[in-house]
Subunit: 197 residues, 2 copies
């Protein structure tokens, strides 16, 4: 539709997740028409992110060093490991400031449909971390959906052989949500997990 | 939330129009975690788009040469000029394949609230194009909103001094739309512009 580079840039942005053709066009024109938009900075970051960012050799979180900032932090409780599917989940949990232990990023969830089995996840590395007996609790924080539940079930069975407390994040009504609009499964879980006040 | 570069990249994507913090994070991780994502290509395009893409000296459309592909095309009718607010509008009209004339990109619309007056638009350049009397019709294709209508009204008054036919794109019901859901103004315009079948 456009001449050369402009269309190339639109196509390239359109390949990113969550960006449709209209948004891609809007972004390309924004870059083109905003004189103080720092193109070279974005360009530089794109190069650096591939070059310098890797995955923590212990937990699999994103890091610019061999070990991520959480695994390097001596104040974090090493006896507590929170298992998540993705590095984005680490950031989400960190935002709550509720958890002071360490993480283990699986790199996905078991999904027969997507062809992802246990061997495709960082489960061997998790078992290695648990081998020396210093970890007291593993919190399974995979997503509360089909794949996440399957992964949690698989891991909890695997971990019964070890003398470690295995927990799962609570399911229930979202805070600020309306009971009326909760789906049956969530509402059922909220009943199951009800607590004495 | 993340270490250095990853967060920088998320912030940078978050500055683009229509990309919120969650989308920015998703995009950054997509780039990070997709091994065959061509980072250098996107980087290169970002540099080139600023360096090589300029605005057509005649119509103001985006172009990699002094004159855009439409202004260079001898098959396009020079006697017909379609006036639009933005280069994105040129692309939208080109997709219809209905129009075989030339364009004139104003670079915005008159908006007292945004502080955009006639002098901020490429109106002088339009008048220069019309000076030699070769243009027979000017189609005002500014947006059918407050600013676009104001701009069209301003231009139509300005052009009455010249012996040129001045037209405005039809307003009416969107094709495939539902009469029931049309707003009153659009429905009113559809009545006004009704045609004998």
């Amino acid at each position: 539709m456009y001449d050369g580079i402009v269309q190339d840039l639109i196509d390239e942005f359109g390949r990113l997740p969550g960006i449709g053709p209209k948004s891609a066009q809007r972004i390309a024109f924004h870059i083109l028409q905003t004189p103080n938009f720092d193109v070279s900075h974005l360009s530089k970051l794109l190069g650096e992110v591939r070059e310098k960012v890797r995955f923590c050799e212990i937990c699999g979180n994103v890091s610019e060093q061999d070990r991520c900032s959480i695994c390097r932090d001596p104040r974090r409780n090493e006896a507590l490991i929170c298992v998540v599917e993705d590095a984005k989940d680490v950031a989400a949990i960190e935002r709550t400031r509720e958890f002071r232990g360490r993480y283990h990023v699986l790199g996905g969830a078991i999904s027969p449909i997507a062809g992802v089995g246990p061997d495709d996840l960082r489960i061997t590395q998790l078992m290695q971390r648990l081998a020396d007996g210093s970890v007291q609790e593993v919190i399974l924080a995979t997503n509360p959906n089909l794949e996440g539940e399957a992964t949690a079930t698989y891991l909890s069975r695997l971990l019964t052989t070890l003398e470690i407390r295995v927990t799962r994040l609570a399911s229930g009504l979202p805070v600020g949500g309306d009971l009326e609009y909760a789906d049956e499964v969530t509402l059922g879980r909220a009943f199951e997990g009800r607590r004495v006040v």
